[in-house]
């Protein structure tokens, strides 16, 4: 079973606009991670936010975490065509010794 679920499933925006993706999870966690996957490639780690953090920044990325709502959001500011990819949230899966469990992902398309 999947721990995290992303929303929306797909998002299409113009270059320069901001993109926001959301992730909801079911059980308590100590951290949540976001990954990017370009078409036909493996996943690349973007950012990790701990359960005692509410917000974290990395370049044009901003991640928030609301443990009371069991949700996280990933904001990409001033998007570029190169940001076109699938984005996944991942949380520790207690059933598998805290290994990461991934959601189904959000497909982001940035039009130039």
């Amino acid at each position: 079973s999947q721990q995290g679920e992303e929303d929306p499933q797909a998002l299409s925006i113009q270059e320069g606009e901001n993109a926001t993706m959301n992730c909801s999870y079911k059980t308590s966690i100590n951290n949540l991670q976001w990954y990017r996957q370009n078409s036909g490639r493996g996943l690349v780690h973007l950012i990790l936010i701990r359960s005692n953090e509410r917000e974290k920044h990395s370049g044009r990325l901003r991640v928030t975490l609301d443990t009371s709502k069991k949700s996280s959001s990933l904001l990409i500011t001033a998007s570029r065509a190169a940001d076109t990819a699938s984005y996944f949230c991942a949380t520790p899966g207690k059933e598998y010794g805290n290994k990461l469990v991934f959601g189904a992902g959000t497909i982001l398309r940035v039009k130039s």
Binding site: G40, G42, G97, K99, L100, F102
Partner: protein, 119 residues
Amino acid sequence: NAGVTQTPKFRVLKTGQSMTLLCAQDMNHEYMYWYRQDPGMGLRLIHYSVGEGTTAKGEVPDGYNVSRLKKQNFLLGLESAAPSQTSVYFCASSYSRRGYLNNSYNEQFFGPGTRLTVL
């Protein structure tokens, strides 16, 4: 450094055939994982290993076997392939931290994937 590599990149099998997917990492990571990715399903964990000589089942282990004879290699075997195993397979690795709960903070490094079709 090559990071995480996977062999082969593509493969077509007939039902009932067997094959082995090879994953290699040169980062001296303790932990290695095998996932499968299907449309609309995200990534699902098949098996994982926390060190040389150890393996454990993940979310969808049926029909697969694994071995970790060397720290840098993690093999995924399909003894009798079925069409339901048509998928893209990803290997990943991560370093270990001290303490059981601390291991959940591991960033995972992924290989480029193997696209497998079973006819």
